[in-house]
């Protein structure tokens, strides 16, 4: 499957995605503006609580082409962070209180400078998260060494697994993905991840395989733990329940399946003020492959850079000014405030 961008699909244009979410139908036109919802909750304008997590998207290339991917990642995406931009990242977080560097993609492991970058972040004594699709760990000998590399550098792995059964996982992520993901998880367990004598953290990211909200995080964690242990002898630490945001390929799915109005209505009706107060954009900064700064990875994919009053590129990184910025919002933000809320770390309310 090609990415939307490679297929020159109309939804590869961020401005069109936002136009659809705001005015794509009578229903969508009548959806309350997210900013008004925040105002009713006393959270407008939305401000940071202080940046704790420096999330770096090191490139949109991926070995998978998942149907829901908000990045529109895939093998045909060529956007890759250079070593020079990685050095700007290191300069930005050095000598700051930012404790965590969170590496995402695409498949971040496919960046040619990935291992060097992890080693340099480790040397700064920062906690490192790698968001892995798991299957990349199985594709060739170079990548099969990565579980041990992760373990040696104390990397926290957040692994994508939308469901504990093959049918649902493959329906979203592609044929054969579930079986390879199981092998990837077993490789991580084998080097000490999520083992009782080890502090190596392996967390799973579960997201709905369709146009519905995620189930209760604790309930699903218990299900995943029971089934993965019984069927595959796999252990993990925590499960993060993540809502699909109505952008990019998931928006394409919603439109093609006739679900976009109902899904947006569902998100709006499930607006949770407690979740809104804890949205991840309040304590994260997202860095694009080219060094531009965003409030979150979703805004990055919609090319909505941080507010113009703040520095917009790593070259001008200024933590104090970024902590004073106003967070940029639009209708897709309802995805993070529905129900128990959603973030890169799962439920937030």
């Amino acid at each position: 499957m090609k990415s939307l961008k490679a297929a020159e699909h109309r939804l590869s244009q961020p401005e069109l995605q936002l136009e659809i979410l705001n005015n794509g139908s009578e229903t969508l036109k009548n959806v309350p503006k997210f900013g008004d919802k925040l105002r009713d909750t006393g959270l407008h304008p939305l401000k940071p609580t202080g940046i704790d997590i420096f999330q770096v998207n090191v490139g949109y290339m991926c070995n998978e082409t998942c149907k829901h991917c908000h990045v529109d990642a895939g093998p045909d995406r060529k956007e890759i962070m250079t070593r020079e931009t990685m050095e700007l990242c290191l300069d930005a977080v050095r000598d700051t209180d930012i404790g965590t560097v969170d590496l995402t993609g695409g498949a971040p492991e496919m960046n040619p400078h990935f291992r060097w970058f992890v080693e340099e972040i480790k040397a700064l004594n920062k906690h490192i998260i790698v968001r892995s699709n798991l299957t990349i760990l199985t594709v060739n000998p170079k990548y099969r060494e990565l579980p041990l590399f992760f373990a040696e550098h104390g990397v926290e792995v957040v692994a994508s697994l939308p469901y504990y059964l093959q049918r649902n996982t493959d329906a979203q992520r592609g044929d054969g993905v579930f079986d390879k993901s199981i092998i990837g998880l077993q490789m991580l367990n084998a080097v000490g991840y999520a083992q009782s004598e080890s502090d190596l953290m392996l967390n799973l990211a579960y997201n709905p395989t369709g146009a519905f909200l995620p189930a209760n995080q604790k309930t699903m964690e218990a299900d995943f733990r029971r089934v993965l242990k019984k069927n595959h002898d796999i252990s993990f630490n925590n499960l993060f329940a993540i809502t699909n945001l109505p952008i990019s390929r998931f928006l394409d799915f919603l439109i093609m399946s006739g679900n976009v109005d109902d899904y947006m209505t569902k998100l709006v009706n499930a607006y949770n003020p407690s979740a809104a107060a804890n949205v991840m954009c309040r304590n994260i900064i997202s860095v694009g492959w080219d060094g531009y700064l965003y409030d979150c990875d979703f805004n990055q994919m919609l090319q909505m850079k941080v507010n113009s009053s703040a520095p917009r590129h790593l070259r001008d990184f200024d933590l104090a000014r970024l902590n004073e910025r106003t967070i940029v919002i639009d209708q897709h933000c309802y995805g993070c405030t529905a129900g128990a809320g959603s973030s890169c770390g799962g439920a937030i309310a």
Binding site: P208, A215, M220
Partner: protein, 111 residues
């Protein structure tokens, strides 16, 4: 009036039944909410029961609502289909068990 007896958009208007009788409506929805809250049975178990009953009473609104609800409670297609088979088994069994009455009658009036 719609051209059909069932309109999918009416599902979202369920709450408006109080328009012609707010007191009873409120009592019903309070009860409804309490029934589906986590208790001795989990919310997921209750949603699966509701899905099965929806098929037994053949309510399209209920099937629509509880299909989504089951997925949002983390159930999968196999579990949901088994719940519907439970419904079908009870409905089928309810017919078949009456065949005992038929057989009794046959035996009574036959030589």
């Amino acid at each position: 009036m719609s051209d059909t007896y069932y309109n999918p958009e009416d599902l979202a208007k369920f709450g408006s039944i109080g328009e012609f009788g707010p007191e009873l409506s409120k009592k019903f929805f309070d009860y409804y909410g309490a029934v589906f809250a986590e208790g001795a049975l989990s919310e997921r178990e209750k949603a699966l029961i509701a899905l099965a009953v929806s098929h037994a009473v053949q309510c399209p609104y209920c099937i629509d609502a509880y299909t989504t609800d089951c997925l949002e409670k983390g159930s999968n297609e196999m579990q949901m289909m088994e719940a519907v088979h439970v419904s079908a088994a009870i409905r089928g069994g309810a017919s078949l068990v009456h065949s005992v009455q038929m057989m009794n009658k046959v035996k009574k009036i036959s030589m």
